[in-house]
């Protein structure tokens, strides 16, 4: 760790071994992951996937369903983290990109007999197209103005679906069907595996992308646009691409939300969804990918906790209506004080300290033999 300036960089790389240069850890070398990004990320994803398979196999169907929800929110949050954390653009309208993905898959399921994978890809594509539409004007806007524009998107999109209700199903919505599970796999478990697979693929792609030349361009643009353009980076193109990738992730997340809900209707994409996504991203660790697991867990479990708290304490509906939002706000404040770079940043800091402490201890033990 060479200082706070590189924190975001280090965060972006899941599993980056702590840089303990100088310490003699030759025996550890065998345990190290390969340096080549794709190989490294694939190994991590396979390992993570194996663990998740074992976990979901032993959970009850209801908890499986919740794990699936975590996976879908993770996809949206990872895209948002790239946009806001790595590229420095804010979006208060990610719920709208999710809505586009959800409506796309629902419309395709209603009117065509397309292959399921193609339907998912179409959802990703449709959201990416909206990403271009929003991303181009966004290059001219900054900070609160960009926040305002994306906020407008979140507010303006649902009424469109209400306006052309014969196409979009209006209030009643459009129904979606999860492809039939092979064998006698529980349908909740099956959907969860599909969602987890989508999340792992998204994470591998994004992690790889962030270690590429383009990832460095995103960060350069975030840190200083003028310096970046002097270095030969096409700033506007970089920013639009970030928007497109982020929107595409939200589109996939939206398609999964539509599948797990069973219906796609305007009520699923209220403004609070977009705002909670942003808050969860900050709590998880802006700019981090692995930190988004924490944000997603919070998004799924917080409403549950708040419901059980309000029913245990017998709170009136006036209070319980806002309890989840209050807890969200409180967690955000605590996270900002205790760990300004989110839960993942805090953990990384603690892990780094622990490793330094440990390697310091071992070095002292080894030293006499080396000098002697």
């Amino acid at each position: 760790m060479s200082g706070a300036g590189n924190l975001a960089d280090a965060d972006l790389l899941p599993g980056t071994p702590p840089d303990a240069a100088g310490a003699d850890r030759s025996w550890l070398r065998h345990l190290r992951l390969p340096e080549q990004p794709l190989a490294r990320h694939l190994i991590l994803a396979l390992g993570g996937g194996g663990i998740l398979y074992l976990v979901t196999s032993s959970l009850s169907p209801y908890n499986d369903f919740l794990v699936g929800e975590i996976a879908l929110y993770l996809i949206a949050l990872a895209g948002l983290s790239l946009l806001t954390g790595v590229n420095g653009q804010i979006s208060l309208g990610h719920g709208a990109f999710m809505a586009v993905g959800a409506y796309t898959i629902a419309l395709l399921m209603t009117h065509t007999q397309l292959n399921f994978i193609l339907e998912l890809l179409a959802s990703v594509g449709a959201a990416a197209v909206l990403g271009v539409v929003i991303g181009v004007p966004a290059t001219r806007l900054k900070g609160p103005y960009l926040a305002g524009m994306t906020l407008l998107l979140a507010l303006a999109l649902p009424p469109i679906a209400d306006k052309w209700s014969s196409t979009f199903g209006g209030d009643q919505g459009l129904t979606t069907t999860v492809p039939t599970a092979p064998g006698n796999i529980n349908p909740e478990e099956w959907l969860t595996w599909i969602e987890l697979l989508g999340a792992l693929i998204t994470l591998v792609l994004l992690a790889n992308f962030l270690r590429s030349r383009f990832g460095r361009m995103l960060r350069a643009v975030r840190d200083d646009e003028i310096a970046a353009s002097l270095a030969g980076i096409h700033v506007a193109r970089t920013k639009v691409t970030a928007f497109v990738i982020s929107a595409a992730c939200a589109g996939l997340a939206g398609a999964f939300l539509g599948l797990s809900t069973g219906v796609v209707s305007t009520g699923e994409f209220p403004l609070p969804l977009s705002i909670q996504l942003l808050a969860a991203m900050v709590i998880g660790g802006t700019g981090s990918l692995m930190g988004m697991w924490w944000g997603a867990v919070l998004l799924v479990y917080l409403p549950q906790w708040s419901t059980s708290i309000s029913s245990h304490l017998n709170l009136g509906s006036d209070v319980s209506a806002y309890l989840a939002t209050i807890i969200f706000g409180a967690v955000l404040i605590v996270a900002m004080i205790a760990a300004p770079s989110g839960i993942q940043g805090g953990l990384r800091l603690a892990w780094g300290r622990a490793v330094r402490l440990w390697s310091g201890l071992t070095r002292k033990q080894i030293q006499p033999t080396r000098t002697g």
Binding site: T261, V263, S265, T307
Partner: protein
């Protein structure tokens, strides 16, 4: 590993003779309803009112010795929440049946899940045509479908306002569309001069444009499928421009204890004086609507008397806050329908047994409804009839804790029809009286 686990679960559930959510002393049922959010006002009274009936039944020993636990959760009218919470109720809390869940998009979201799990989805609080569908044998509607309301009110317009110009003002979703479907079956299309809609999700200010268009088209009768707020937001600008048509409004948007306060509060918020605000409640005078059970203002009705006693004893806080308004009556009647379904299903309670009991004996259930329920093997709609009523200052008022609101008088016989092309016919049967003893546990 997943496969082995699934197989184990299947064998265990097949091996055990018990029904989920049912023990020898209890029945656990659940629901998802809006207790918070934009749809909550009014609708948040229904589940607590239902619970009052279950508490009453439990205090009298339950049904066949089983007490009813009603676990209703707040979905805030967001289908994504409904999907998660319904899975919690079914997969984790093991409810026996989903009873009295509210909303069209919310319940459409879980219809396929509940049916695939063979969990009865009973008495959905929505008038969508979509609940009676052979593809979903576990789903049952309860209130009259909006199409049925549209047909009954349309027939009344055709008979009593022949030759007059009719305008429509409807919510731009299936609530409005189903209602229009019913109206159009009865009203000759030549007499419909204007069709206006509004968007429920962006409903914020007066519906001035729609009202002006109706006035410009010369509408003498305005038929509306509106939620209470939209009723008020249409009537106020109409009065302001001197447009006074004959209003014919769906039951949903014409409950005077709900709409009256809205008219006053919107007037005060718009800068009107206290006197002006108080006077606006008078706009409801002469409004024509329909009712499918005796209104709260009919204090001599035996059901109204029983409902008041029940609410005062078993849901005192809800009763103190709202009195016996349309939503409370709705909840009580719906819960009582479920209690009778349990009785009809017998001592050996199963989900399949409950569904077939409703199909077999639902028509004979005793309810406050003006017409009997119409359940059968092929029809999963509840009430398919109503009477046309007129709100009037000369009728006995509806008194609630929020004030004294306009009462109503019937202006048509009780009529029945269906969502299809069936005619609107007069129903000659008598409404059932409340039972002497609430629950027979024999």
């Amino acid at each position: 590993m997943g496969l082995t686990l699934a197989t184990t679960v299947l064998t265990t559930s097949a091996g055990a003779a018990s029904t989920p959510g049912v023990t020898s002393t209890s029945i656990t049922i659940g629901a998802t309803v809006p207790l918070t959010g934009p749809a909550a006002p009014g609708y948040d009274e229904i589940a607590p009112s239902m619970n009052a009936v279950f508490d009453w039944v439990n205090a009298h020993g339950g049904v066949f010795g089983r007490k009813i636990n009603y676990d209703y959760l707040d979905d805030g009218y967001n289908p994504a929440n409904t999907a998660t919470l319904t899975r919690k109720l079914v997969l984790q809390d093991n409810i026996f049946a989903d009873v009295g869940s509210l909303g069209t998009p919310t319940q459409a979201a879980v219809q396929s899940f509940l049916n695939s799990q063979k969990v009865p989805q009973l008495f959905i609080e929505s008038g969508c045509d979509c609940w009676s569908n052979p593809k979903f044998p576990e789903s049952f509607g309860w209130q009259p479908p909006y199409t049925v309301e549209g047909k009954i009110l349309g027939a009344y317009i055709k008979a009593h306002f022949a030759g007059e110009k009719v305008g429509y003002l409807t919510q731009g979703d299936e609530f409005g569309q189903d209602f229009i479907k019913g109206l159009d079956m009865e009203i000759p299309s030549a007499s419909v001069v204007s069709r206006q809609t509004y968007d429920a999700s962006t409903l914020a200010g007066p519906l001035s444009n729609q009202v002006a268009a109706l006035k410009a088209a010369g509408a003498q009768v305005v038929a509306m499928a509106t939620i209470p707020a939209a009723t008020a937001l249409a009537m106020l600008p109409a009065a302001a421009i001197g447009f006074t048509p004959q209003y014919v409004i769906s039951n949903v948007g014409a409950d005077s204890p709900t709409v009256g306060p809205l008219l006053s509060s919107f007037t005060s918020k718009g800068g009107g004086s206290a006197a002006e605000a108080a006077a606006t409640a008078g706009l409801l005078n002469g409004v024509i609507t329909d009712a499918y059970f005796a209104p709260e203002s009919n204090v001599s009705n035996p059901w109204v008397q029983v409902e008041k006693k029940l609410m005062a004893k078993y849901a005192p806080s809800t009763y103190a806050k709202y009195g016996l308004d349309g939503n409370v009556q709705y909840g009580v009647a719906l819960a009582y329908t479920f209690v009778q379904a349990l009785q009809a299903a017998g001592k050996n309670l199963t989900r399949a047994g409950l569904v077939s009991a409703i199909e077999k004996s639902g028509k004979k259930f005793v309810t406050p409804g003006l017409v009997p329920l119409s359940y059968s093997g092929s029809v999963h709609f509840g009430f398919q009839g109503a009477e046309v009523i007129k709100l009037s200052t000369s009728a006995p008022p509806a008194v609630t804790p929020t004030g004294s609101w306009m009462g109503s008088t019937p202006v048509s016989p009780v009529e029945v029809t269906n969502v299809g092309s069936g005619p609107v016919r007069t129903y000659t049967g008598k409404p059932s009286a409340p039972p002497q003893k609430l629950v027979s546990t024999s």
